[in-house]
């Protein structure tokens, strides 16, 4: 059961993520943002419910669709947006853009533009935690498409053999770019792949905060007891195209509308909070408004931030002490 404080934290994060993504969309259409930008709108419940159970000492590795994970793991909206705009004040000095954003100080080992690239990195994070006897976990976020990469299978096996405190979270949004998962993926429910590695696997409704929250809590408990990794599959749907310029020829408008109107994770969680007496309409409205204001300030900050100085372009290739 989610308590009030956690519930409100999650509700706020979901709003921050949605506001951030929809702002990024607008800025992209206004040509104020460029590059490959993949939005998390519609999938907010997963990052928010999971990161609600993590501290800065817990680690995550993320994906090309990584803004949500980054924000849920504690990123400031302004610095994150500044990075998307390539500004000097961004988390990676304008070098990363959307696809490589990271904040190591918050336990975020980074977004990853290579599909499947982050899964072994989270595994290595878990290895370090275990070797250092820390009471923490690592989380690998990745998509259904990434579960067809060798890195997924190799990592699950390795983590299982070494009993690493790693939780593999697959965000099954039913597409890998323009290819529907039935065309590319051997099984409809990816949780079954855990059986091949002798670890628990669970499929949950990824748009249901309570379901994601509880399933992750179980996986985390197992990891902390030293029993090893778990695979958690969250079924979801992305509202926007794969990237901001996607013509979306591979799916119908109706299907997208259905997900928006019937299964919006934010609306559903709002109802949950109200039904369970955890909050009131006024309180939730206030959170929503505060998130929107925070986003406005973030845009202001990012737009007014300076561009990076090309004189420093060769810095940081190596650590120089």
């Amino acid at each position: 059961m989610i308590d009030k404080q956690t519930g409100l934290w999650i509700y706020n994060k979901m709003h921050e993520i949605r506001d951030f993504e929809e702002t990024a969309w607008t800025l992209f259409t206004e040509n104020k943002l460029r590059g490959s930008v993949h939005l998390y709108t519609g999938e907010e419940a997963i990052a928010a419910s999971i990161c609600a159970q993590l501290t800065d000492e817990d680690l995550i590795a993320s994906t090309h669709r990584g803004h949500g994970h980054c924000i849920a793991k504690g990123a400031e909206l302004g610095r994150a947006l500044a990075e998307l705009m390539g500004k000097a004040t961004g988390y990676c000095k304008g070098r990363s853009g959307s696809m490589h954003i990271a904040d190591f100080s918050k336990g975020n080992l980074g977004a990853n533009a290579i599909v499947g690239g982050g899964i072994p990195i989270a595994t290595g994070g878990a290895l370090a935690l275990k070797m250092q006897n820390k009471p923490n976990v690592a989380v690998a976020f990745f998509g259904d498409g990434a579960s067809n990469q060798g890195t997924f299978h190799e990592s699950l096996n390795l983590a299982a053999v070494w009993k690493l405190p790693c939780i593999y979270v697959v965000e099954h949004n039913q597409y890998g770019m323009t290819v529907p998962s039935w065309q590319s993926t051997s099984v409809p429910d990816l949780a079954v792949r855990s059986a091949a590695y002798g670890i628990p696997g669970e499929t949950v409704d990824g748009n249901d905060v309570a379901a994601v929250y509880q399933a992750f809590a179980r996986a985390k408990e197992r990891a902390l007891k030293g029993e090893g990794p778990s695979l958690l599959e969250c079924k979801t749907y992305r509202w926007r195209g794969h990237w901001t310029g996607d013509p979306e020829v591979y799916r119908s408008r109706e299907k997208v509308e259905e997900w928006k109107t019937q299964r919006d994770p934010i609306r559903r969680f709002r109802d949950y909070l109200l039904v369970h007496g955890l909050s009131t309409e006024e309180e939730l409205d206030k959170i929503e408004k505060a998130a929107a204001e925070k986003m406005e300030a973030a845009v202001e900050f990012a737009i007014n931030s300076p561009e990076p100085d090309p004189a420093h372009v060769l810095d940081d290739v190596f650590y120089e002490g």
Binding site: R34, G35, S36, G86, K87, G94, R95, S96, G97, M99, H100, A113, I114, V115, G116, G117, G145, A146, N148, Q149, G150, G176, M177, T178, V179, Q183, S184, T185, V249, Y250, E307, P308, P310, V313, L314, V317
Partner: protein, 325 residues
């Protein structure tokens, strides 16, 4: 008139009609028609068997292309970005490149591995690299890199008909460039034959892919200052036509090589070394080699521009070689 992307699509279509063993596989090649449209609508004519969407499993499908080639097919495998070659590096460098040789010449490997590379679209460190030098370093792979629509068509047809593995390098900023492409369904550009894109007497500029256009721009600027530059596009890097470049250098006495690939250990160094051996007595100045700086490609456009060679740097290098300040 055809764009570079249309020329590629056109040749794939013609070759698939001509030879039922030719087929395409890659990510999003079917209905989406590939990210830059190089297989657009081809599934309508050939069906999803021959325009085959793959899972996001580069090792599996690039390796499968090699296996299918060994077993009598003529696959064209498409990586979405050349950067993803590192995901399936074993299948490319240990398998594809070596299969024929290590099996004592038993196998024929009639496959093409196509992709696009380069900066220009703000795709940052792992979607913007220029990697052809690495493919030249490992023996057993042919390397083609068209800079114009007709070359794209002619080189791709040669690649598809070749019984060796060909790595076909396209550049993301070239897809929309337009030019005439010969209609002849057998039009081939031979491998190992450079193209002199502009004749000149004072300095030889060698460039590939997008940098051919940059070199031509530099040549225009140099002409305004009374320096006549010859611009040569090698078109294939394996095999490499050193003779055409050596002949040109014997005439001009000066060599500037420029590529978007990193300067350190980039293929331009190999060209400089070869030309020094072939035309040393004719050189009037030390050869110059320009390429991207030794750092990953940053996202911010001004930073990205600072990393790759600029037209003015090419101009300056040519002037320095001609002892003009």
């Amino acid at each position: 008139m055809m764009t570079y992307a249309q020329a590629i699509r056109h040749v794939i279509q013609q070759e698939m009609r001509r030879d039922p063993r030719v087929f395409v596989m890659g990510e999003d090649v079917e209905k989406h028609g590939s990210v830059f449209g190089t297989t657009r609508d081809l599934y309508k004519e050939f069906g999803p068997d021959r325009i085959r969407n793959t899972p996001i499993s580069e090792s599996a499908f690039v390796g499968a292309a090699l296996g299918a080639a060994c077993a009598g097919m003529r696959p064209i495998a498409e990586l979405m970005y050349w950067d993803f070659a590192f995901v399936c590096a074993d299948q490319i460098f240990n398998q594809m490149a070596k299969t024929r040789y290590v099996f004592g010449g038993n196998a024929k490997i009639p496959m093409v591995l196509r992709s696009q590379q380069g900066t220009g679209r703000g795709n940052a460190a792992t979607h913007s690299q220029s990697l052809e030098s690495i493919f030249m370093h490992i023996p057993g792979l042919k390397v083609a890199c068209p800079s114009a629509p007709a070359d794209a068509a002619g080189l791709l047809r040669t690649a598809i008909r070749d019984d060796n593995p060909v790595c076909f390098f396209e550049h993301k900023m070239l897809y929309t460039t337009q030019a005439d492409v010969p209609e002849d369904p057998d039009f081939c550009v031979p491998f190992g034959k450079a193209s002199i894109r502009r004749e000149g007497a004072d300095v030889t500029i060698v460039a590939n892919l997008y940098y051919v256009s940059q070199a031509l721009e530099a040549a225009e600027a140099l002409a305004r200052e009374g320096i006549s530059a010859e611009v040569i596009d090698p078109r294939t890097l394996v095999p490499f036509d050193y003779d055409t470049i050596a002949e040109s250098v014997k005439k001009t006495g000066r060599l500037v090589v420029v590529h978007e690939a990193h300067q350190n250990n980039g293929w331009g160094a190999q060209v400089v070394s070869q030309i020094c051996q072939m035309a040393f007595p004719y050189l009037d100045a030390a050869p110059v080699h320009l390429g991207a700086k030794a750092c990953p490609l940053p996202f911010n456009p001004a930073l990205e521009a600072a990393v790759i060679p600029s037209v003015s740097e090419i101009v300056a290098a040519c002037k320095a070689a001609c002892y003009v300040s």
